[in-house]
Amino acid sequence: MEAEIASLQAAALAEIETVGDRSSLDAFKVKYLGKQGEITKLSEGMRHVAKEDRPRFGKALNELRQSVTSRVEEREQALASQADAEALSRVDISLPGIPAEQGALHPLTHLLDRAVRIFRRLGFAVAEGPDIEDEWHCFDALNTPPDHPARNEQDTFYLPDGRLLRTHTSTVQIRVMENQAPPVRIVAPGAAYRRDEVDATHLAQFTQMEGLYVDRNVSVADLKGTTEYFFRQLFGSETEVRFRPHFFPFTEPSYEIDIRAKSLGGKWMELAGCGMVDPAVFEAICQKRGDRAFDPDVVSGFAFGFGLDRLAMNLAQVPDIRMLVENDLRFLKQFSAL
């Protein structure tokens, strides 16, 4: 019996060395370990073994089964890793990737959102107002004389009912102050319209961003600091900011802001208008509100506004402003960077 076990073991262990694939291994398993397999058959011989010898034979048989099983497992693992390696070796990692379609935000959205985030860092909230406005919000409340050329039908779009398309986002200043007592600290991005013939640098509809800060003791120093901070955040800390005295009906003193920055091509660029809110604007608001919440002897404020389209053009070196509204995908997709 022991001799049989030993010879079976020798035969099995010799044979497994010759097994080269999965199916021969399966056949081997059936041949030796299966229900009718050699080892099972040998185990059945236990019946004829003397009782006192049984533990010894049992043990030997067990060892036989274990050694074969363990070799089978080893072999199985070796075959599996061999198959895995072969499978991986067939993966051609040099083939091009399958494109994942990536959209893009409009360059104006990128710029506008950067601007909003900078002002939010300073604690400004976002405000909005309608595109369709009345003369009071667009002109009267902003201290624009009744015969001012801006009110002209040549320059401003009117509706048949006498209302108009706002010519600037400064209307939002008025909307906000009508509804909210000081302090007011807002930025308002939005569309504005002027009856300009469209060309490489003009659109009849453009995008502006307006800012307003009204509180006690707001001065030109705040105006200067805030706008300088904004433009340096937007264009880089090396950005030069220049304030030129100017005139707007709704601010006094008024300034135009010029910027010179590497990111804008290193040339002085007229970018924004700003100033201290004119007392006449506060008076118009007080009258409308029926209170003295914006008494110009108590509160003061600054306002600023700038166009985003030309800025986006200059930042991205876009040669023609009309490209911003043509929506050519070959253009838009250039702005998909993170």
Binding site: I98, A100, T109, Q154, P160, G225, P253, L329
Partner: protein, 781 residues
């Protein structure tokens, strides 16, 4: 407006460069555009005369000249030009001269012959863009004198003047500002007013013309203006006409008061200032006939209108070569009236430009006196009587009180009372009453813009300069607004759509009538730029489709666009934030792995909307509208959000689309109002069981009906229904042509235990029975 530096220097000393002056003017609030220099201001370039010219021994094209440079020692110059003769006077650049382009003149040899300088062309002296040969100077040009004596250097500044500062519309006005900002005296005093006599009844409308003066001058001889006058006018871009007209223009440019001279011989009877008759015709100096309205002010005689007051003179009453007697007008016309007339007739002049902005009342008679004196000087003649004065010279502006504290509060500075006073005095304001707190300032007559305290604050700010004001930046949190919430929401929607592969478009709010689906519901402009921009868009879809078309024409294989913008409606909410999507072409490009490209279809769009709005959506077929042949509304929680649609094939072909064109439009406010509840829901602990069924139903039966039927059974364990194959065969070979086979995967799960096979089987069997009973479904096993 153009300002000449030479002219300006008559009234204020300026030793800096033109660029430095431009910087100073900018600091005062003037916007300086182009700076044009003319003339030839080159040291060591002199007027020379050619004494002798011989052929160069070694070069056919060159001559050797002996020229007189005024030094008494003739110079030898080699020259390549041929256009001169001996005796001509020409510009000579002496050794050491530097010509434009940093061209340094030295003594040198040309083909072996020494040349002690260079004879110049007009181009070499930047006097002309091109030149053929030497610049031949007038025979009387003084030899040896600098070339600048013939071509005096001149710098003209193009200046933009803000509407609040009419006092800047003259050389004296600008000089006044330069003097104030450089602490120099103004070298000008206002000419004394002439003798006047009251002339009553001349002005028919005192509101439109508060003050009118006429000076008669007889015996004038109209002729060309002298060089100095011609040069002054030309230096700022005006054409010389004749000595009388030139004087009126000159005085306007000098002190800002527009003047007009009438030919007295052409005036019949009395001069009147009155409103025009409605429909009255007027032939203006520009040769055009204008039809006037009863709101236009005219200067008229007993027969007809002679001039459009403050705007333009008449063709028939102007000064000509034959004029011998003139009436010189100097007046004030109401700003808004002149503006209305100018706008109505689209007629603008240097005169109306000034009257529209406001006139220094003290300048009216001064200008008359100055012009009279110049006319007498240049055209002879005598003053006939006193200036006839009608109306009253308007009062100088009222004094304005300024609190020192206010200045510092607005500017963020701590200026002393003395600093403030010095700033304002420099500008010609005079302190009237001084107290601890405030000073009352007298305002000079030319500063019509200074009427309020804040106007004086601004003056102090200008003089002190913004550079002196410190920069202060502070962060104070404002209460977030509704606009903040919608801004953030819209940015998230934009980001998600870009992540889904769509690119953001921005189209115009102003659209053509063809882009408006219902004119009754759309808002129209009263004064559009053109028919194609005459409506406010009521939908974003037409604009996006135009963008689709443009991209397809450029050969785009795939177009996936979205836009977030306002739409405008005549009914309901006037302005609504809206999202629109347009898709066509490849949704998936062809690749080595997936084979051929796949076009966008209805279900891609549905998938995008579902990914954008991660709540249970309800889709409902709706009627076709406009170009949309297939339409479905989409709602959530019973609230309609918008629609999706597919263009009719005909409409798609019009866009050059070869595949389906899909669009969606969603109301962003409705979308934003869907409650976002990021609250944890338990993740299933027990495994799900999936069973597939395949049914054959009529080809026209919508899948939605099948799903509805399955849901109607209310199987408590059924958690998901997913179709995974839809098959039909038009040939009828594999399946009757009017039938389709739909394979559906049913997922069952119980939250608290693992399901056993029998209960799932029982459930599936109930579902099958229902499909059979309600839809007549057959089963493919």
């Amino acid at each position: 407006m153009n300002i000449s530096l030479n002219w300006l220097r008559e009234f204020v000393d300026w030793t800096g460069t033109p660029e430095e002056l431009a910087t100073l003017l900018t600091r005062t609030g003037l916007e300086v555009g182009n700076i044009a220099t003319r003339g030839a201001d080159f040291p060591k370039v002199v007027i020379a005369q050619i004494l002798e010219a011989t052929q160069h021994p070694n070069a056919d094209r060159l001559s050797v000249c002996r020229v007189d440079d005024g030094s008494g020692h003739p110079r030898q110059i080699v020259c390549g030009a041929k256009n001169f003769k001996v005796g001509d006077k020409v510009p000579l650049a002496l050794p050491g001269a530097v010509l434009p382009g940093d061209f340094k003149i030295k003594v040198g040899k040309l083909r072996g012959v020494e040349s002690e300088g260079m004879l110049c062309s007009a181009k070499e002296l930047s006097l002309a863009a091109d030149a053929d040969g030497l610049l031949i100077l007038p025979a009387d040009a003084p030899v040896g004198q600098p070339i600048a004596t013939l071509f005096p250097p001149e710098t003209a500044f193009e200046i933009e003047i803000t509407p609040n500062r009419p006092d800047w519309l003259s050389h004296v006005g600008i000089a006044r500002e330069v003097a104030a900002f450089t602490n120099q005296p103004l070298k000008w005093t206002r000419p004394a007013a002439p003798q006047t006599t009251e002339y009553a009844g001349r002005i028919g409308n005192l509101e439109r013309c508060p003050f009118y003066t006429l000076q008669r001058i007889t015996g004038v001889k109209v002729g060309p203006s002298p060089d100095w006058l011609r040069q002054r006018l030309e230096s700022v871009g005006l054409r010389s006409i004749n000595n009388v007209v030139d004087v009126t223009n000159f005085v306007m440019l000098e002190i800002g008061q527009p003047l007009h001279a009438f030919d007295a011989a052409k005036v019949n009877g009395d001069v009147q200032v009155r409103l025009a008759g409605e429909g009255e015709k007027f032939l203006a100096l520009d040769g055009r006939e204008y039809t006037l309205s009863a709101d236009d002010l005219v200067i008229a005689d007993s027969a007809r209108s002679l001039a459009l007051a403050g705007v333009m003179g008449g063709e028939e009453s102007g000064v000509t070569e034959t004029t011998t007697e003139i009436l010189l007008e100097s007046a004030i016309f109401q700003t808004s009236g002149v503006r209305r007339t100018g706008r109505r007739l689209d007629l603008h002049s240097d005169s109306s430009y000034r009257f529209e902005r406001g006139i220094d009342p003290a300048g009216v008679l001064a200008a008359s006196a100055r012009a009279t004196q110049l006319i007498l000087e240049l055209a002879g003649g005598t003053v006939a009587g006193s200036a006839e004065v009608s109306g009253t010279e308007p009062q100088a502006p009222s004094p304005v009180a300024l609190r020192q504290g206010k200045v510092n509060a607005v500017l963020g500075l701590e200026l002393t009372a003395e600093e403030i006073a010095s700033a304002l005095s420099g500008l010609g304001l005079t302190a009237k009453e001084v107290s601890e707190i405030a000073t009352t300032w007298g305002i000079p007559s030319h500063r019509l813009d200074l009427t309020r305290e804040v106007d004086l604050v601004e003056e102090v700010a200008r003089v002190v300069g913004i550079d002196r004001i410190p920069s202060k930046v502070s962060a104070n949190p404002a209460e977030p607004t509704k606009a903040d919430a919608s801004y953030d929401f819209q940015i998230r929607v934009r980001g998600r759509l870009a992540g889904l592969g769509l690119s953001e478009a921005r189209t115009s709010t102003l659209v053509s009538p063809a882009s408006v689906w219902s004119e009754a519901e759309a808002i129209k402009l009263k004064n559009p730029l053109g028919e194609d921009q005459s409506f406010l868009r009521s939908s974003l879809i037409p604009g996006l489709l135009a963008a689709v078309e443009r991209n397809l024409r450029y050969g785009a294989a795939s177009v996936a666009l979205f836009e977030i913008g306002r739409t405008f409606h005549a009914r309901g909410r006037e302005e609504s934030p809206t999202l629109a999507i347009a898709l066509t072409g490849q949704s998936r490009a062809s690749s080595w792995r997936d084979g051929a490209a796949k076009p966008f279809d209805w279900w891609n769009l549905k998938g995008i909307i579902a990914a954008l709005i991660p709540v249970e959506l309800e889709w409902k077929k709706a009627d076709a509208q406009g170009d949309l042949a297939l339409v479905s509304t989409v709602s959530a929680n019973g609230k309609t959000l918008g629609l999706i649609g597919q263009l009719s094939p005909a409409a798609a072909r019009k866009l050059d689309a070869r595949e389906s064109v899909l669009v969606a439009e969603i109301d962003l406010s409705a979308l934003q109002s869907i409650p976002a509840s990021p609250v944890y829901r338990e993740i299933p602990k027990y495994p799900a069981t999936t069973r597939d069924i395949a049914i054959v139903v009529p080809a026209t039966l919508p899948y939605g009906e099948i799903e509805k039927t399955l849901l109607a059974v209310r199987e408590p364990l059924l958690v998901d229904i997913e179709p995974f194959d839809v098959f039909s065969d038009a040939t009828g070979a594999k399946l009757a042509a009017d039938r389709k086979s739909v394979a559906i995967s049913l997922t069952f799960r119980a939250p608290e235990r693992t399901l056993n096979s029998d209960e799932v089987t029982a459930s599936v069997s109930r579902l099958r029975d229902k499909l059979k009973a309600d839809l007549g479904a057959e089963f493919r096993e």
